[in-house]
């Protein structure tokens, strides 16, 4: 080869290399390594049908997948379903399944697995009522799954895509297992390795996972999921100070909950990236309509208009909050602001006058809150002071969470019961507000108008009709003071700067996330 030829060859090689680099941007992402993620609470179980808790979902949603799920804005999105159709009478739902989807045990997922999973869900899942209207599940061929309903349920797809207790597809052999007794085998991008209670959980990349090429990138619980790391080490770190110290020293890569005060301190650091997870948690309290003095609407109104939500939220969230009246998050398909004129009125004088008019005679007003969730504890303290200031005689009972839950059922034991909802409002109004309609009735006294509006909300033929009913429903909640909404929490999350591709969401998603050196 003469010198000229050699030069041409070298130039061509360089050009090829440049072209190759430009054509494959994904290849530039570093692969491999172990992401160390810190989670506050231990999951009570990893069986997704058997718990509604965030700590279960954090882990389970990286292991399991569903036919249909929710996208980044909580809208409907297909996952294991290639496609679906609904018959004209609204009674038959036919799902074409994606082909070549493998379980972590190596077996291909077919309609037999989907049918068995839906049957198990209908038999024992916590929200099994979702599938109560089902007449039959059918698997006419390996890639088709059919659901036949007894009666029309316009919101059926919204309900089966809800992820509070997701209808994860499990291998058919597990259909007879009781709650909490399944082997942790799904079709998701990560497979389960080990769970050492109170210490950590380990997941590893599932080599048989084929990303869903219908999508470009991360989209809610679905999308194109590509695993760029070898392992995920989920550490259970209860103490916030330890979580932050672990992040600062680089021993933890992603922390799901950073205290606001620590976030302020970390803000300037180059080796740490902070994220705001908006619409994380809706903060409020149930109102007892059966016990004096809140059995009187005027007293409830006085309480409602006395409150200064800004002070309550500022103190209970350490400054990370948004004030908005909706019981859905802004941006959600069902978001409305009906009833807003009764939100954050903050008029103590008017409240005092109303309390007098109601004939309030100083009956004890009992608040139940808990020490397990500091935000609820702090909010209760502020609310108590604001109510005392307008003339209520307030007593606060503080319990741990399990005791507070047990006390809630005692209708003579409280007037205001402090709570919060994280996932409910993001799934849709049916999940968020089922607690104030028959049969749950956290306020103990049924409101037939509210029940009727709830029924309309579920049976509305179109999205517009359902949303209109929900608007009236929310206005009714404000009007009758069935629930006191304080505001929405934001959550501060943080990663080390070498964690790339992380987007905050309702669960930490470990797919499409890479670790640089």
């Amino acid at each position: 080869m003469n010198r000229g030829m050699r030069r041409i060859a070298a130039t061509a090689a360089t050009a090829l290399a440049v072209l190759a680099m430009a054509a494959a941007p994904a290849a530039a992402q570093k692969r491999g390594g172990t992401i160390v993620f810190a989670q506050e609470a231990p999951p009570p179980t990893l069986d997704p049908y058997f718990s509604t808790s965030v700590s279960t979902r954090n882990v389970a949603m990286n292991i399991f997948e569903t036919l249909v799920t929710r996208d980044e804005n909580n809208g409907l999105i297909k996952e294991l379903a290639q496609d679906y159709s609904v018959s004209a009478d609204g009674l038959t739902y036919t799902f074409a399944l994606r082909r070549g989807v493998k379980f972590h045990n190596g077996k291909e997922m077919t309609s037999a697995d989907v049918k068995a999973s839906y049957e198990r869900y209908k038999r024992m899942a916590l929200p099994k009522v979702t599938l109560a209207p089902v007449d039959a599940f059918e698997a006419p061929d390996p890639y088709t799954f059919v659901i036949r309903l007894k009666q029309k349920v316009p919101v059926f797809l919204e309900e089966i895509s809800a992820f509070v207790s997701p209808i994860a597809i499990l291998p058919a052999e597990q259909a007879d297992r009781d709650g909490g007794k399944i082997d942790i085998i799904g079709t998701g991008p990560f497979e389960f390795v080990e769970w050492v209670a109170d210490s950590h959980l380990k997941l590893k990349k599932f080599d048989g996972y084929k990303p869903d090429d219908r999508y470009k990138g991360t989209d809610g619980f679905a999308g194109r999921k590509e695993v760029l790391v070898d392992m995920v080490d989920i550490r259970l770190v209860k103490e916030p100070g330890t979580r932050v110290a672990g992040l600062e020293s680089g021993q933890l890569h992603i922390v799901e909950d950073v205290p606001t005060e620590s976030a302020k301190r970390l803000a300037g650091r180059k080796d740490i990236v902070l994220y705001d997870l908006k619409n994380w948690w809706l903060h409020g309290a149930w109102v007892n309509h059966a016990r004096k003095p809140t059995d009187n609407l005027k007293v409830r109104r006085a309480m409602q208009i006395a409150l200064d939500m800004e002070a309550i939220m500022d103190i209970s969230s350490d400054g990370a909050y948004t004030l908005q009246p909706g019981i859905q998050y802004p941006g959600n398909p069902y978001y409305v602001t009906d009833g807003k004129e009764l939100y954050n009125v903050n008029d103590p004088k008017k409240a005092q006058a109303l309390l007098k008019e109601a004939g309030y005679k100083g009956e004890e007003f009992v608040i139940i809150t808990n020490s397990s969730y500091q935000s609820m504890y702090k909010a209760a303290q502020v609310v108590a002071e604001q109510l005392k200031a307008v003339g209520f005689k307030v007593r606060i009972d503080v319990f741990d969470w399990a005791t507070a839950m047990a006390r809630r059922k005692n209708q003579d034991g409280w007037n205001l019961w402090f709570t919060g909802q994280g996932t409910g409002p993001s799934v849709g109004p049916f999940t968020a507000m089922k607690d104030v309609v028959t049969p749950q009735l956290n306020q103990f006294v049924a409101d037939p108008t509210l029940d009727k509006l709830f029924a309309d909300m579920i049976s509305g033929e179109t999205m517009e009709a359902r949303k209109a009913s929900f608007g009236q429903f929310q206005a009714r909640i404000y009007d009758q003071v069935h629930f006191l909404k304080f505001g929405d929490f934001q959550r501060k999350q943080a990663t080390r700067a070498n964690v790339k591709g992380y987007t905050p969401y309702r669960i930490p998603r470990f797919w499409n996330v890479s670790l640089e050196n």
Binding site: P42, P44, T45, L46, F50, S51, T52, S53, V54, T56, M124, L126, P127, K128, V129, V164, D178, G179, G180, W195, V196, A197, D198, S199, H200, R235, L236, V237, K238, E239, G241, T242, A245, G246, E248, S249, Q251, L252, S372, F399, D400, W401, A402, T403, M405, A406, R407, K409, T419, G420, Q421, G422, T423, G424, T431, K434, D435, P439, Q440
Partner: protein, 316 residues
């Protein structure tokens, strides 16, 4: 001696049964429901009731407790409601962790507490004595969760020598195992060091005033020999008692330290179980803790005999 040990072990059986009965009954009196914890915050009453039925918690307390005792007779401590494993397995996973942590903490306590107490007693009211007493006071009064966080910030973040939390099993990596125990065992030991130093000092002062010490000195024995050979052995009786109690406290779980450092030991197991009302784990965990304390007391009693020839357990 053998008969003594056997008698003590047999006497422990009713004690342990009463401990489990009390633990189980108290947990029944405390409101709260494991089903509600499993079902999660958003679950309705109907959903919680469903979990309760599936876990068999809808049966009466007496029936469940009876079943538990029948299982216990077969050596089965039951199945955890939350941890997806048997109680026996959950405890077996935790015991080595707690043993390692308390063992290292005890070692630090004895190695520092006893010499510091002796030193202080030998020079009462000197600067050494004042220093030991001040350090002991600090050790006893500084809240150990605060101390832990300060140690984490200093050694885990600022100088970055040690891990900020977590536990690595010895079999996995002995060096990391040792590193993961340094800060927690210091945090745990500090209070015990303070207590032990003060007890040792007080006892030593008393022993040094005894006639036999004065006699030994009068015979012309060097002071070092008097202290090491005559006084120290007599100091050890109360000190061993305190060490026994300390070890018992360390073993029964250092909930705070284990939580701050995210160490999966017995303390955290029990605390989590209590908050989530995981009844089988609470009963099994308390049974094991109580049994350990009974054994430890026995060991302490046997040590008395070894240290003091006047103590004997054989019937005459």
């Amino acid at each position: 001696m053998g008969e003594f040990i056997l008698r003590r072990l047999l006497a422990a059986i009713p004690v342990l049964l009463i401990v489990t009965l009390i633990a189980a009954s108290i947990m029944q009196l405390v409101p709260g429901d494991p089903a509600a914890v499993i079902a999660g915050q958003g679950a309705s009453d109907a959903e919680v009731a469903q979990v309760r039925a599936q876990l068999g918690l809808d049966r009466s307390f007496v029936v469940r407790l009876g079943e538990w005792y029948v299982g216990l007779a077969r050596g089965d401590l039951g199945h955890s409601l939350m941890l997806n494993r048997s109680v026996g397995q959950a405890i077996l996973e935790r015991v080595p962790v707690t043993l390692a942590l308390s063992g290292v903490a005890l070692l630090l306590t004895v190695l520092i507490g006893v010499p510091a107490g002796v030193l202080a007693a030998l020079r009462p009211n000197s600067w050494v004595d004042q220093l030991v007493l001040t350090m002991a006071l600090i050790g006893v009064s500084v809240p150990n969760f605060w101390l832990s966080l300060m140690l984490i910030v200093l050694f885990g973040v600022i100088v970055d020598w040690l891990p900020t939390g977590g536990y690595v099993p010895f079999a996995e990596d002995p060096v990391e195992w040792a590193r993961s125990l340094v800060l927690p065992s210091i945090s745990l030991a500090l209070l015990q060091i303070g207590l032990l130093a003060r007890i040792t000092r007080a006892t030593m002062l008393e022993v040094l005033r005894n006639d036999y010490v004065r006699t030994a000195r009068a015979k012309g024995l060097p002071r070092r020999m008097v202290v090491a050979k005559h006084a120290l052995k007599n100091v050890m009786i109360p000190v061993v008692t305190v060490i026994g109690i300390s070890f018992g406290l360390l073993l029964s779980g250092s909930v705070v330290i284990e939580t701050v450092y995210s160490i999966p030991g017995m303390g955290r197991l029990l605390a989590t179980a209590i908050f989530s009302r995981d009844y089988p784990v609470i009963q099994g965990g308390l049974l094991v803790t109580a049994a350990t304390l009974v054994l430890l007391n026995l060991v302490v009693d046997l040590l008395y005999a070894a240290l003091d020839p006047r103590v004997t357990y054989d019937r005459r």
